[in-house]
């Protein structure tokens, strides 16, 4: 056996490979051109969002900040409520799917709908998020940027004639372009899309995601300038004292992030249970906005810092520079947790990256500040601990450690913090898993009664074998209760299935009958042959179900309780194959 590798380049040589030069085929060229054009469009859309947010902010909260205290108190309430109500109205009227954070809709669209997103989603998200964030509700611009980018590219690709089945690549690429543009962080954008949305590093979509991220970063670079999002003076290596505080800061910041997630989910479940009239229900985010205004204004009155309002990047930069006192930092951290939990819990239109970074920065800064009181850490080390806290807190909420390390590195441009960030990422994963079972996105899915396994594919074969049967089974099975020819005819005419469970009058399942047997029985007028049912528990794994099928030779399992004969669903060979087909990444 000779290897294909030496065959393809060892013998035929360079010239033969020239002949197979596939780069310049018209379809590839068109795709590359289209990709760059749409990535530019996505980047520009995100820049528009960025500009609009800042314009609104400058004309509302930022302008009021320097006025008299009572003017600010009243004015900020008006701004926050007004912005939030307006955003809710826009969403409720034009595109109800554009509400909430941005990452989950993209992820769901990617896996459930082949990455198909509507143009309207981008526009509405852009306006509603800019209104929400600009008017001072405590949320972040990253999730919306991802959704705006993804929706722009996916919808424009659709308009340009890309088939529905091949829109995934465009959706993922758009998300990368959006995140890369808003943060000036192409690497983190690539890894976030691979880690969180696609879940595979060797994805076939990698090339397109990288390409779009480069273009997104270019647009961000051209519009916002080359400077990192958080600037600080150059840092030196950590001393041993600094190193000992890395895990401590990471634990505190990760706890902050994890508690924020818990609180947000708690608020969310409470608010979702609240029965509101249909006309008022879409304005739920305004309730959250009010409860996010309360802690924000309280913290402002105590510290004169408005960081809990809106995105709050200025205060993060201040914290990195070491300009904030320990008490201020702690108050800002707690205020942000409360304010953002209310806003996110009420499904406000904004992301969770910026608040997580804020919580981590303030929590980390507070610990570092308190520590340097006794141990005399240098200002550079305190800054590094603030950055470590940011990474740990973000990692605890979104659970993508690689992205967190790269993101923090890209938004600060400080090479020396990478080892400390890596350590913090591990610690934060550990802490986060102690506090919450899943990351924010999966918890939200679970709260909505969606089994993440049913929507998102398992990452590899082992995981696939371990998913519960209930994720694949068909519930609402069609049960034959009447075995007379007329009863059989009615069931066979109504459904195309190949095998049916047979139930007795008491509701118990006595067996199964194949379609062929039923047809024969109908013709001959006798009772059909009934096979013994094979049972499987709803919590059994797919691996166990497969073993049962192989051992029993059946292609049909009853899901339920064999002792009581109570049937909750059926699992067929077809269900298994369909489930398995999502393992492959269709383009």
């Amino acid at each position: 056996m000779t290897s294909p590798a030496t065959d393809s380049i060892g013998r035929k040589g360079l010239w033969a490979s020239f002949e197979r030069l596939k780069l310049l085929t018209p379809s590839k060229l068109w795709e590359a051109l289209g990709l760059s054009a749409l990535a530019i469009a996505a980047g520009l859309a995100v820049m528009l969002f960025h500009g609009l947010t800042h314009w609104i902010e400058d004309n509302t909260i930022a302008r009021l900040e320097h006025r008299h205290t009572w003017e600010f108190v009243v004015g900020s309430l008006v701004c926050v409520m007004g912005g939030s109500l307006l955003a809710s109205w826009v969403i409720a009227t034009f595109a109800p799917t554009a509400g909430g954070g941005g990452v989950l809709p993209v992820k769901l669209a990617f896996w459930r709908d082949f990455g198909v997103m509507r143009k309207r989603e981008a526009t509405v998200k852009l306006i509603a998020s800019a209104l929400t964030l600009g008017s001072g509700v405590s949320m972040g611009p990253e999730g919306p940027s991802i959704q705006i980018g993804a929706a722009t590219m996916s919808s424009l690709a659709g308009a340009a004639g890309v088939a529905k089945q091949s829109r995934r690549a465009w959706c993922a690429a758009g998300g990368a372009a959006g995140l890369a543009a808003v943060f000036n962080a192409p690497l983190a954008a690539i890894t976030f899309i691979l880690e969180e949305i696609i879940g595979d590093l060797n994805s076939k979509l990698l090339g397109r995601v990288v390409f779009a991220a480069v273009i997104g970063a270019l647009i961000g670079h051209a519009v916002l300038g080359p400077q990192p999002a958080f600037q600080s003076s150059p840092l030196a290596d950590l001393s041993w004292k600094g190193w000992t505080f890395v895990p401590v800061v990471a634990v505190v910041a990760a706890l902050g992030g994890a508690w924020f997630q818990r609180l947000a989910l708690m608020v969310r479940s409470r608010l979702n249970r609240l029965v509101l009239p249909a006309r008022v229900a879409p304005y739920r985010p305004a309730i959250g906005a009010f409860f996010s205004w309360a802690p924000a204004i309280a913290v402002f009155l105590m510290t004169r810092h408005a960081g809990v309002f809106g995105i709050g990047y200025e205060d993060i930069t201040e914290a990195i520079a070491g300009h904030l006192a320990v008490g201020t930092l702690a108050l800002l951290c707690l205020g942000k947790i409360a304010a953002t939990a209310a806003a996110v819990g009420a499904s406000g239109c904004g992301g969770i990256f910026a608040p997580s970074l804020f919580i981590g920065a303030m929590g980390g800064g507070a610990v570092a500040g308190a520590a340097s009181h006794y141990l005399h850490l240098s200002p550079g080390e305190t800054s590094m601990l603030v950055m470590v806290g940011m990474g740990a807190s973000l990692g605890a909420v979104i659970r993508t450690p690689l992205t967190c390390v790269l993101l923090l590195f890209e938004v600060t441009n400080q090479w020396v913090i990478v080892p400390a960030l890596m350590l913090a990422a591990v610690v934060s994963q550990f802490v986060a898993r102690r506090v919450n079972h899943h990351d924010m996105y999966e918890e939200i899915l679970l709260q909505d009664g969606v089994d993440p396994h049913q929507v998102l594919p398992p990452r590899h074969f082992k995981r696939w074998r371990e998913i519960p049967v209930s994720a694949l089974a068909t519930f609402q099975p069609i049960v034959i209760r009447d075995l007379s020819p007329a009863g059989l005819r009615a069931v066979l005419a109504a459904s195309p299935h190949l095998r049916f469970p047979v139930g007795g009058p008491d509701g118990r399942i006595n067996g199964t009958v194949a379609r062929r047997e039923a047809e024969l029985a109908m013709q001959s007028g006798t009772a059909p042959r009934i096979d013994r049912p094979e049972w499987v528990g709803a919590k059994s794994t797919v691996g166990a179900a497969r073993k049962l099928m192989l051992a029993g030779g059946a292609d049909f399992l009853c899901v339920g309780n064999p002792d009581t004969g109570e049937l909750s669903g059926v699992l067929t060979l077809h269900d298994l194959l369909r489930g398995e087909s999502v393992l492959e990444e269709d383009e």
Binding site: M1, T2, S3, P4, A5, T6, S8, I9, G10, G13, L14, S17, R20, L21, K22, L23, P186, L187, I190, T191, E195, G199, D200, L201, N202, L206, G207, V210, F211, A213, V214, A217, L218, H221, A222, P226, P228, D237, P401, L402, V405, L406, F409, E410, N413, W415, V418, P419, M422, L423, A425, V426, Q429, R459, H460, E466, P468, K539, T541, A544
Partner: protein, 440 residues
């Protein structure tokens, strides 16, 4: 799911196992880092010793010393590998990939001493190979050793996870590049995200990096000083350089495989003779141009400050390519990351110099293109773009070059992919597998 279901279907068991994985990963990382740091120190010492014997003045005595040292160390290094552990030849990355895929087994008792000694002797004596291949393979072997000592059963998933984490730790320690080590494990060795791989490689790389920084120095390998980041106007040039780097990378891949084929057909020649010939060639080249022999990191540093004569660059590049391809092809122990960075740096400097001569106002600093050349050629040869980008950041210690680097890498990647040239480690792995199945 309730806890009972968890324990029934292995989720809880996985969690318990993962908790035990953490200290093991830390141990593997620290051990791999220690070994890699000693390897780096050994190399630095032996390269310094050779430079002292050869001297810088182009004397005849120096030439004799260079030729003799090169031939002797090359011969002994190659003989040691062929005699005691043939699987320790070359870079070690394809071998670790095969171990992770379950295609072959790893015997740390043979690999650790042979790779260490042959690496220090061969590279220190002048062979144009890099230190990261040995440290990666030794990292994997260290993990195997730790597994054996702690009684991790053969054939368990945990073993593979730890071996790949050890390999990443080796890369991290070789270049002070913890993040690149981890991305390498995820992208090149496994290609998927799994929590245990993540956590194990994270911890191992951080531990290895800390140990290596303490012992072998904490500065970036190619620290950049005084080169301002290029603006957006450099991007078209970066794309062109990327296309060129793509072609050079493909040429590198083809000639490396052809060289392996060439030496493979001459299997009956004594390894002493082959090693001596290649070592002699490298030694003499290193006498003519100091810095050309050995790992070549010094040459990159010189290129970064523009101290290499512009007119000689294409020739230097070609000679260096021949040295690396010859040394790797004959089967000596050493990696190709550093050698390809050297070729990329020389190529980048020639491109930058040319651009500077065409338009001095637009391309005021040819050194910028050195970094882009290194990133581009890595993307073309290894085809692991994330690892390449992260590694370039960590090698240079600056993020300022990110955008042109991305553009250059992407262009190089696209060209290599379009030419239908397989990634080098994949090609090498398939070659090894094919040879193994033929011999059995």
């Amino acid at each position: 799911m309730d806890p009972a279901a968890n324990s029934e279907f292995g989720v809880a068991r996985d969690e318990i196992r993962q908790r035990q994985l953490l200290p093991k990963a830390l141990l593997v990382g620290a051990a791999a880092g220690l070994l890699a740091a000693f390897f780096r120190l050994g190399l630095a010492w032996s390269e310094g010793w050779r430079a002292g014997r050869v001297g810088g003045g182009h004397s005849w005595r120096g030439l004799a010393a260079a030729a003799a040292i090169g031939a002797a160390t090359g011969a002994v290094a190659l003989w040691t590998v062929k005699r005691f552990a043939p699987e320790a030849s070359g870079s070690g990355i394809p071998f670790i990939k095969r171990v992770v895929l379950g295609e072959t087994k790893l015997n740390w008792r043979r690999i650790l001493p042979v790779k260490f000694c042959a690496g220090v002797l061969g590279i220190g004596g002048g062979l144009a190979l890099g230190r990261e291949g040995p440290t990666i393979q030794m990292g994997g072997a260290t993990a195997q050793m730790v597994c054996d000592m702690l009684g991790v059963a053969e054939g368990q998933e945990e073993r593979k996870v730890l071996i790949s984490a050890g390999a990443g730790a080796g890369l991290a320690a070789a270049f002070n590049a913890p993040l690149a080590g981890m991305v390498f494990v995820l992208e090149e060795l496994h290609g998927r995200f799994s929590r245990s791989i993540f956590v194990a490689s994270f911890l191992a790389c951080v531990a290895a990096d800390i140990v290596a920084r303490l012992l072998a120095g904490a500065t970036p390998v190619f620290a950049i000083k005084g080169v301002a980041a290029p603006g957006l106007e450099a991007l078209p040039a970066a794309a062109i350089e990327g296309v060129l780097a793509g072609f050079v990378g493909v040429a590198f891949n083809i000639s490396l495989l052809a060289s392996l084929e060439f030496f493979g057909r001459r299997d009956r020649l004594s390894p002493l003779g082959k090693g001596a010939a290649i070592g002699f060639f490298c030694g003499v080249a290193g006498w003519v141009v100091p810095g050309l022999a050995g790992s070549g990191g010094g040459l990159v540093t010189q290129a970064l400050v523009g101290q290499v004569a512009f007119g000689w660059l294409p020739l230097l590049m070609l000679v260096r390519l021949g040295m690396t391809v010859g040394a790797y092809g004959c089967g000596s122990a050493g990696g190709i990351f550093l050698p390809m960075f050297v070729i990329g740096a020389l190529g980048g400097l020639s491109f930058g110099g040319l651009a500077h001569q065409i338009s001095p106002s637009w391309f005021s600093r040819p050194e910028v293109f050195v970094i882009l050349g290194m990133g581009g050629i890595f993307a073309a040869i290894v085809r692991a773009p994330l690892t390449g980008l992260v590694l370039m950041i960590e090698l240079t210690g600056t993020y300022d070059f990110m955008l042109p680097l991305l553009v250059c890498s992407f262009a190089a990647y696209g060209v290599a992919e379009a030419l239908g040239c397989p990634p080098i480690y994949e090609a090498l792995r398939q070659r090894q597998t094919a040879r193994q199945s033929r011999s059995s």
